[in-house]
């Protein structure tokens, strides 16, 4: 049975629970931020503050965001398996609300990371943004997509014995269409390429988000229940 409202209510409860646990240790968030800052500093230090090539800056931004996401987003499910709370969660809620809750949590983490890292990135590389609205849309939609597709992959990785490098290996091919579109949209928003292309890329990001979330909701049951 599909009951979106009840799913959302239970999902929000799981989201609140995860946020509370996260605020106790702030482990996931600190790992993500440290990873992002380290790469950002390395990039800025090595290429200097005056890069005019939008091809490079757009790609660098998404490389930083992608690998930061990979460093932290697998935690959501791995932690449940490690502490042995996965069974309790299975009894407490249907699979779909669990996925929704974890998805919302990952979105929260990733968006709060971008809010911190993207302005820093703009400042350290002295970027001027030609289309600010399109830039924000690309970053937000891209981050949503990163979180959306990696949530179910995190569940797969957790069930596969939490092998540390598995997350990146699994996520990269699945996320590549998203990254291509996000990089292309970011590049156009930074002033390189054609401004008219932005709409096509943003639409692609939007549909990718929809497909990723719908597929995750349908398939999650098979990963979660044994």
């Amino acid at each position: 049975m599909i009951k979106p409202l009840r799913w959302l209510k239970q999902g929000l409860a799981i989201w609140r629970k995860d946020l509370r646990i996260e605020f106790r240790t702030r482990y996931t968030y600190s790992a993500l931020v440290m990873f992002a800052i380290t790469t950002l500093v390395t990039v800025s230090f090595s290429i200097g503050g005056f890069v005019t090539d939008t091809d490079i800056t757009a790609a660098l931004l998404w490389i930083i965001l992608f690998f930061s996401a990979m460093a932290g987003l697998a935690r959501t499910f791995v932690a449940e398996e490690e502490t042995g709370t996965a069974t309790a969660l299975k009894m407490a809620a249907q699979p779909e609300p669990v996925l929704l809750g974890k998805y919302l949590f990952n979105v929260t983490i990733l968006l709060s990371l971008t809010v911190l890292v993207v302005p820093l990135f703009i400042m350290m590389l002295n970027l001027s943004i030609a289309l600010p609205l399109a830039f924000v849309a690309a970053v937000v939609l891209g981050s949503l997509g990163l979180a959306g597709a990696s949530t179910i992959l995190a569940a797969i990785v957790a069930k596969a014995g939490a092998k540390s490098s598995l997350m990146t290996v699994l996520a990269f091919p699945v996320l590549l269409p998203l990254l291509f579109a996000a990089i292309s949209a970011t590049r156009a928003a930074l002033g390189g390429g054609l401004a008219a292309d932005v709409t096509a890329d943003l639409l692609m990001l939007f549909f990718y988000n929809g497909v990723a979330l719908a597929a995750s909701l349908l398939l999650f049951e098979y990963v979660w229940n044994e």
């Binding site: 797969i156 069930k159 290996v169 091919p173 398939l219 044994e226």
Partner: protein, 218 residues
């Protein structure tokens, strides 16, 4: 044994015809002959990957490990033909565009396709338990397959590709002369037969390996 011999003779015929009977293609010149091998390889890769996804869905619905073995064999065969399509494409690209690799949208999408299934095999190798492996691999195969349309259909439409299209969308015709079409269709048939044969052999092997595992388990 009988139809394997027929298949062998058929493929030899196709190879000879592709060089001697078929005329050089218009526009592409002599390099166009590789189309007889490149397009059927790509077709089999898509067919095998599609079958792998259908098998994965079948496994999730019924939970029979036979479906999982079929999905694995199809993913393996798909990867072999995908590599063949990539290599023949790169050779053709050298002849027609001047370099083996230039990140044309088609080359980009086929690379991602190969990476998806490489990750699929990594995932399979990471899980020792057969049932769990089957379920997680099936979910990943379906998830990954859903992103393929973004690459195969959307990326080449949004970003300009130099890749020639066989089917002319503007006047809804097939850009081939009659002799070439005959060789091309025979090759397509031959490749499909080859795929069916490889699938049968590989399935027999996987079923035997599974039977041995079951015996050891007792």
């Amino acid at each position: 044994m009988f139809w394997q011999i027929i298949l062998g003779i058929w493929m030899v015929g196709v190879i000879i015809a592709s060089f001697l009977y078929m005329p050089a293609t218009q526009g592409l010149g002599e390099t166009g002959r590789i189309l007889i091998y490149h397009v059927p390889s790509a077709w089999i890769a898509v067919l095998a990957y599609l079958m792998a996804m259908v098998n994965s869905l079948g496994y999730l619905r019924q939970g029979d490990l036979r479906w999982d073995r079929q999905a694995q064999v199809n993913a393996e065969l798909g990867t072999i033909f995908c590599i063949l399509a990539t290599v023949t494409g790169a050779i053709w690209s050298r002849g027609a565009w001047g370099q083996y690799w230039n990140w044309d949208p088609r080359q980009t999408s086929i690379t991602v396709l190969l990476m998806i299934y490489a990750a699929y095999f990594v995932l399979r190798s990471a899980i020792p338990d057969a049932d769990r492996r089957a379920r997680l691999a099936a979910v990943y195969a379906i998830l990954a397959f859903l992103t393929v349309p973004f690459l195969v259909f959307i990326v080449p439409r949004v970003y300009v590709s130099l890749h020639p299209d066989l089917i002319n969308l503007e006047n809804r015709s097939f850009d081939m002369d009659r002799k070439m079409l005959v060789v091309f269709l025979s090759s397509l048939l031959g490749f499909t037969g080859l795929y069916a044969w490889m699938y049968k052999v590989q399935m027999r092997l996987e079923n035997l390996l599974y039977a041995i595992d079951m015996k050891r388990g007792e």
